[in-house]
Subunit: 340 residues, 2 copies
């Protein structure tokens, strides 16, 4: 039994309390300043308003002001902040976490630097001046996992990645349950790239679902072939990017299963659908107001980096390039099929 502190009471951070509680751990769930109302409600009756489930009794909900207490004696710190929250997490949380406490990041994303370098979140933390000389051990987790299904204790298989296999095995012992299956790998670059990019490419594949919706009146059959062709192109570009960044090609397996689940059940699919139906990005954004879409940031960052790099061309990633043109350059939908 360990004491585990989760910072970020969003859907995935909070859902992690299920395998942890099932393994008998004490869980301190600390909300960010954005989670104030969620924590208020959890304190009342343990009901999570976004997940729409009652969290396990072992969860102790804490407001951000209680962070200091919540970190006391903790044996594992889990970050459930979204990618735009990592500066806050570095400054407010990691700054007061001793190097001896292992950190597990659930954040999906890649950070781009002025020279086109793309860094996984677990490495990007060390670019913050305050953390550069620290010896924190930051692992991360990726692979297909829809949060409310984790709460329902449905089987899933995820990848736990970091530099130290021994440390990863310890984390696996803390987290693994009969339904939450964990594989370990030292390929942080490959896994973090895969799980970040799948949000971008889920938009790409969903374009075909949107196109088919738009043609529903004249033709009520599905557009499976174009979806599959886009899925193949997405896989091809993700494999190319993983290799370019020095990751292992077999990590594309997680990109595949994570892309699959995001298309059939994730949030980023909605953006692709609307764009496929012919809406401009501005119109689609208006329609999705209030939904956090990691896809927009990852498309922008990856495309920006690929336009800068000398060892690659954005034209080797025509689907990503087109998504970037739609989102950041007001382009109309015009899938570059002949470049695939």
């Amino acid at each position: 039994m360990s004491i585990v502190t989760i910072v970020g009471a969003g859907m995935m951070g909070s859902a992690m309390s299920f395998p942890l509680a099932d393994n008998g751990h004490e869980i301190r769930l600390v909300g960010t300043p954005y989670d104030r109302k969620v924590i208020d409600r959890l304190r009342q009756d343990h009901f999570h308003p976004a997940l729409k489930v009652t969290l396990p009794e072992a969860v102790k909900p804490c407001q951000i002001e209680e962070l200091g207490t919540a970190l006391q004696g903790t044996e594992l710190l889990i970050s459930g902040v979204p990618s735009f929250g990592i500066d806050w997490f570095a400054g407010q949380v990691l700054s007061q976490t001793p190097d001896s406490v292992p950190v597990l990041s659930l954040t999906k994303g890649l950070e781009d630097e002025p020279d086109g370098t793309l860094l996984p979140i677990s490495k990007a933390y060390f670019k913050r001046p305050a953390l550069a000389s620290r010896h924190l051990s930051i692992s991360s987790i990726g692979g297909p996992c829809i949060s409310y299904e984790l709460c329902a204790r449905r089987h899933t298989t995820v990848a736990l990645c970091g530099d130290d296999l021994g440390q990863l095995e310890q984390l696996r012992t803390i987290l693994q349950t009969p339904y939450y299956h964990i594989r370990t790998t030292t390929d942080s670059m490959g896994i973090e790239c895969a799980v970040a990019m799948k949000n971008a490419y889920a938009v790409g594949v969903s374009l075909a679902i949107g196109i088919s919706e738009a043609h529903k009146n004249e033709d009520d059959t599905h557009w499976y072939n174009p979806q599959a062709a886009l899925f193949g192109q997405a896989m091809s570009e993700m494999m190319r990017l993983i290799k370019l960044l020095g990751g292992q090609p077999q990590s594309v397996i997680y990109a595949a299963s994570d892309l699959y689940v995001t298309i059939i059940g994730g949030r980023n699919r909605q953006l692709g659908l609307l764009l496929g139906e012919g809406l401009s990005f501005a119109e689609a954004q208006q329609r999705l107001a209030g939904v956090t879409l990691e896809s927009i940031s990852i498309i922008t960052r990856a495309a920006r980096a690929l336009r800068l790099r000398r060892d690659a061309s954005i034209n080797d990633f025509p689907l990503l390039r087109h998504l970037d043109e739609i989102i950041n350059r007001q382009a109309k939908l015009n899938i570059p099929w002949t470049e695939f």
Copy 2:
């Protein structure tokens, strides 16, 4: 303009007439003995009863007795027979085809030999004594392509594979259209393994869809996580098998897109669904009577080969092994999650 002879008037063989007709070729569509009624109907009004579309005017439907005439002057022979028809195709068709006529096989499958060797169909032909000393050029085509969507001229991207890149480029010129996108590769082993195995693994992933259907009354949410975990395991096992057989790992891209389209829109999904709902294989087979399922044969053959091989263990392919146990050993559904 070329003369192209297609043998096999099933759905995929017949659908190939669309890109060929759009490119201005003369098409002779020869039915196998099973296709007699289809050819009769096509002769009447060009309507294909299984595809439910009218084939292009450039198609000349021929009964099998007219094969000799249909092969006269042909510049490309396409085989649209299913995997159990390749002996027939070798004996009745290839025996009277000159080596100078390129052959394109649409057949999906792997053939297993007594020592556990698994051969792609394009190579298995040369194991027939009558063809062993011939110099036929047999290429094949794989990748996601649902036949009726090809007739609707929807975009798709497929892989054309064979030994001679120059020959493949010629075939591409004959077949490629603004909607039928073709990539060429010499990795026949990888592509043919991928497109054969995806039929097996589509059954595997669909098990989770069936399980979710069976639980619909007590829980109306989808089981996306288990589907995705099975998708990842399928990818992992397909990549392992491709490598084992000497194919190129990047051909797993086609396995991914082809698996995706087969799960969302193919026939083999039905078997997985019924097994996932708890039916025995015998019951599921009865329910699906009349539907040709390549999956049953490929699961049986691949598992049989892997049990025989010395350079691999069937336990490295736990999902495939379990599918084989259900189909050939009366096992009950019990997904081996902890072995993934």
